[in-house]
């Protein structure tokens, strides 16, 4: 293998598993250390700079960082990264003074943002401080997009949402709420220098089965129903409720039903339980609220008697694989199952829909009705029009919308300044030694053995009787500090300086997880098989040095390194050093 090029900013970035997996590349270990040090405001601002909604995300993020977390590879559970973020948000001081200043002299450019979800708000947050005049349009009466209309208050209190949306709207944003944009042409005619489309994936899928029409008002599209609850148009639901679908929307629908009078709420899914799309923790929360989940039940028909819905028929199926290995649901041959229901919530998927974008705008769509959007620049086929969030590539989540917003803001800024969109500034990186003295480090290098701590919940009876009562109580500070110590500081990199090494093997012998090997070089596959401990996880890199005096190379498997610094403590020549790597994604405005 060639010696590892650590000057490539992505090499050490990848070692910080959580940050690398985060779509917005939040410097996770940096804020976790700040929390452990009681610096909540600073921890909040590290987050805010990257992901704009720490309080919201600390409660609702899809947390792609956690399955990636290194801790999950050396023991059962990853660090509770997401819930630690909430600790920073809950315990911070007033942060208004740290928000970017808005210039008194604007730069003369005007940008329209359609839809006030997280994607558009992120664009606003990045462009307003640069002097752009921002016009934000949304059909609803307040900003937040689906964070307001879909995510229920028992998961995300309105005050938290209002606070973080407020920080952005306070940047002198011109809001046009309760304004449904019915024509992109009209917007373009207003002479904006650029337009950002952040309208989400607002259409819920319907389920056309026998009896659907007759069942009429007792069958609801999940996301429409959740919005109507959020905006206080709907206050109750029948005692018996069926929720169709196995995603996160279904979980929010069933849990909301329990709070609006639903006593026997059942989730019914077509496929096996193990294949449900909802996050494990959301499923767990629903089951904790006494909501059974019936698997392998395919909906057949709605049963309506005397003009009112009585229930639904389902066919029981099982999974089979055909010769080509394709998975099929085949009937088990039992009679159809009848389940009683006063109301049915259909939560079987969301779609994009752009009835308001005219052909003449030059914004082109593919055969599935999705706009042609550049993955890196977010520019559409009309150079002035940019897309981000769920509207660009289909429904995802808040953190992805934020990541899109940052990238789109860079593009819009470059576009308005007449620079090529491909000339994107490099990420900010910084590598500093954590050495304080002999065997003394300015980070907590001891590895604690604690298992993941559990976030306490509100008492169930109280939670189910109040739709707005937040279920999760968040970590108390003492627990948060303990959880924070579980973080392995993956950003404190093991940096090897080949010329200092005398090949004494001290690092090899001390490393608790057998990461380091000195051996003859070879091709990657061969090298992986010859290391002190097998390196089966090919998603993790090998750090390979240049050839040493004995003709061997140093090979470090990054996979289960604990970042304990013992290699650097034992090295007599400081050929190993522990150096903190800070990686910040480029943003239009820091």
């Amino acid at each position: 293998m060639k010696p590892t090029d650590t000057s490539n900013p992505e090499y050490f970035h990848k070692v910080v598993d959580c940050q690398y997996a985060c779509p917005a590349h939040t410097p996770v270990p940096e804020y976790i250390r700040l929390i452990a040090a009681g610096k909540y405001t600073e921890a909040y601002m590290v987050n805010w700079e990257s992901n704009v909604f720490p309080g919201i995300l600390g409660r609702t993020c899809d947390r792609p960082c956690e399955p990636a977390c290194r801790r999950g590879r050396i023991e059962e559970e990853p660090v509770a990264i997401c819930r630690l973020k909430r600790v920073a948000a809950d315990n911070k001081d007033d942060v208004k003074a740290f928000m970017p200043a808005i210039p008194s002299q604007m730069n003369g450019k005007r940008v329209a943002l359609i839809g006030a979800g997280p994607a558009s708000l992120t664009v606003a947050r990045d462009l307003a401080p640069l002097g752009y005049e921002i016009h934000l349009y949304d059909e609803h009466e307040a900003g937040g997009g689906m964070m307001r209309s879909q995510i229920p208050s028992f998961r995300l209190p309105t005050e938290v949402l209002n606070e973080e949306v407020g920080y952005i709207l306070d940047m002198g944003i011109h809001t046009h709420f309760k304004t449904y944009v019915s024509s992109l042409n009209e917007i373009l005619e207003k002479g904006y220098d650029a337009v950002f489309v952040g309208t989400g994936a607002p259409r819920g899928r319907n389920l056309d089965l026998p009896g659907r029409e007759e069942a009429g008002k007792n069958v609801h599209i999940g996301i429409e129903w959740l919005a109507s609850v959020a905006f206080e148009h709907t206050h109750k639901i029948g005692k018996k409720v069926i929720v169709l679908g196995g995603g996160n929307t279904a979980m929010d629908c069933c849990r909301t039903s329990r709070r609006l009078g639903g006593e026997q709420v059942k989730v019914v899914v077509r496929s096996p339980f193990s294949e449900m799309k909802a996050s494990p923790w959301e499923i767990e929360d629903a089951m904790h609220e006494d909501i059974p989940i019936l698997e392998n039940h395919v909906p057949k028909s709605f049963v309506v008697k005397d003009g009112s819905l009585k229930g639904m028929f389902f066919e029981k199926v099982m999974v089979e694989y055909d010769d080509s290995g394709k998975r099929k649901l085949v009937p088990v041959g039992e009679p159809d199952v009848f389940i009683e229901a006063d109301d049915v919530l259909v939560a079987i998927g969301q779609q994009n829909s752009f009835p308001w974008i005219e052909k003449e705008t030059g914004v082109n769509f593919d055969e599935w009705g999705m706009p042609f959007v550049d993955r890196a620049t977010h520019q559409s086929s009309n150079k002035k029009v940019f897309f981000g969030g769920d509207s660009a590539f289909g429904p995802k989540n808040v953190i992805t919308a934020v990541a899109h917003g940052h990238q789109a803001a860079i593009s819009i800024d470059l576009y308005c300044q007449g620079t090529a969109l491909t000339e994107r500034p490099a990420p900010f990186t910084n590598l500093v030694s954590k050495k304080m003295g002999i065997h003394e480090w300015s980070y907590d290098n001891d590895v604690v053995n604690d298992q993941r701590f559990i976030v306490p919940l509100a008492e169930k009876k109280a939670a189910l009787s109040d739709r707005k009562l937040e279920v999760e109580l968040g970590f108390d500070i003492a627990t948060a500090v303990k959880e924070a110590h579980r973080c392995l500081n993956c950003d404190v990199q093991t940096v090897f300086e080949k010329d200092k090494c005398i090949e004494c093997d001290a690092c090899v012998d001390i490393c608790p997880t057998s990461c380091i090997t000195f051996t003859l070089n070879g091709e990657e596959e061969d090298l992986r098989s010859r290391l002190k401990a097998p390196a089966f996880n090919i998603t993790q890199d090998l750090y390979v040095s240049d050839t040493l005096a004995t003709k061997r190379v140093m090979v470090k498997d990054e996979d289960v390194c604990l970042h304990c610094g013992l290699c650097a403590e034992r090295c007599p020549t400081s050929a190993w050093d522990m150096q903190q790597y800070l990686y910040k994604v480029t943003k239009a405005c820091h």
Partner: protein
């Protein structure tokens, strides 16, 4: 400074026949100087015992005084241990071994501990062919007392402070050969590929097994001009050929021509596999080994590898016809057979 090793280990660590990983053979975190050769020898002992699947509680580790003699704390934390006085490890090992022949005895010593204060003990334990592994972690100095020249320091070797050693060195491997040791090997702490199989073979050997391991002292004797530094040893090392210990059931090599290889059957049923043995080297030839050692020294080379082995050897238990069962398992009537037996003995002496 970190005194506690994190408890986590690589999740895919190999397991031995007992289902243990190397973790079960580790000791506490070393407090020796970072980069000390002794730590690599400790790691090799751990690996050898792991690979041989010896139950850790069936091993006794013994030592004298010195940095080298501190190392038993840093390996085999689940085994029996005895840190004796300076140079007295052999007597303690002899006593323990006589009391219980069923354990594996690993003695660890330094060049000071062995070649100076403990020389008398060393020569007698060889003479008696005690069934044990005797490892000298040889750094050419008294590491623990800040690096004074030891009796194995080469003539002309320069210390860190700049003084040149005027005395002849004691060649411990040569001495062991001369005194009739039944297993003699030499190695380098920086060459685990050679050292681990040698330790395994030494453990399998049913008699006195001596390994002299050059083990640089990074703090006091790793300077230019020293003949026990990492750089000097790497430049002057010469190997007798690769050695490996193969289990009983493996296919056995029979040919014994130079350039191929040979398997030497050990008493416990395992085989030492010697590869590419140099043309004029025969591991059963004591004189040849002594000559080769001397010749290498004349060339300023350090000869490493298995120098000599005598598989059919009678160790001390055999010689003095001692109890086959550990003393702690003997019952009252066996230990104290009564006045009639005493009377018989007394009669014999009359």
């Amino acid at each position: 400074m970190t005194y506690i090793r994190p408890k986590f280990r690589h999740p895919d660590l190999p397991k031995n026949d007992l289902g243990y990983t190397t973790k079960e053979y580790e000791g506490s975190l070393s407090t020796l100087c970072a980069g000390c050769g002794h730590d690599s020898i400790s790691a090799s002992i751990i690996e050898a015992c792991f690979e041989l699947s010896i139950p850790p509680h069936r091993i006794a580790k013994l030592s004298g005084i010195g940095c080298s003699s501190k190392t038993p704390t840093y390996f085999l934390g689940n085994s029996h241990g005895f840190n004796s006085v300076h140079g007295r490890m052999p007597s303690v090992a002899t006593g323990a071994n006589m009391a219980n022949r069923d354990l594996t005895y690993i003695g660890v010593s330094g060049d000071g501990d062995t070649a100076s204060i403990g020389m008398g003990q060393f020569v007698h334990v060889i003479r008696r062919n005690l069934n044990m592994v005797y490892i000298v972690m040889n750094n050419g100095c008294y590491g623990l007392t800040k690096g004074q020249d030891s009796a194995t320091a080469d003539e002309g070797s320069k210390s860190k402070a700049g003084s040149v050693n005027p005395f002849q060195p004691i060649d411990l491997a040569g001495l062991a050969l001369e005194l009739g040791a039944s297993f003699v090997a030499q190695s380098f702490s920086g060459d685990k590929e050679q050292l681990i199989p040698l330790i395994k073979a030494a453990i399998s050997h049913q008699g006195f097994a001596f390994i002299n391991v050059i083990s640089p002292c990074v703090t006091f004797n790793n300077n230019p001009g020293s003949t026990k530094s990492y750089d000097y040893v790497r430049e002057h090392i010469e190997s007798t050929g690769k050695t490996d210990l193969v289990p009983e059931k493996t296919e056995i090599l029979t040919s014994y021509e130079s350039g191929t290889g040979t398997d030497v059957k050990m008493h416990d049923g395992t085989y030492i596999r010697l590869e590419k043995l140099a043309a004029n080297r025969n591991p059963f030839d004591r004189m040849g080994a002594m000559n080769a050692l001397q010749a290498a020294r004349n060339r300023n080379e350090i000869l490493t590898g298995l120098l000599f082995v005598e598989t059919e050897t009678e160790n001390l238990h055999h010689t003095i016809n001692s109890s086959e069962r550990p003393l702690n398992s003997l019952l009252q009537e066996e230990l104290c057979p009564g006045s009639l037996v005493l009377a018989d003995i007394n009669d014999e002496l009359r």
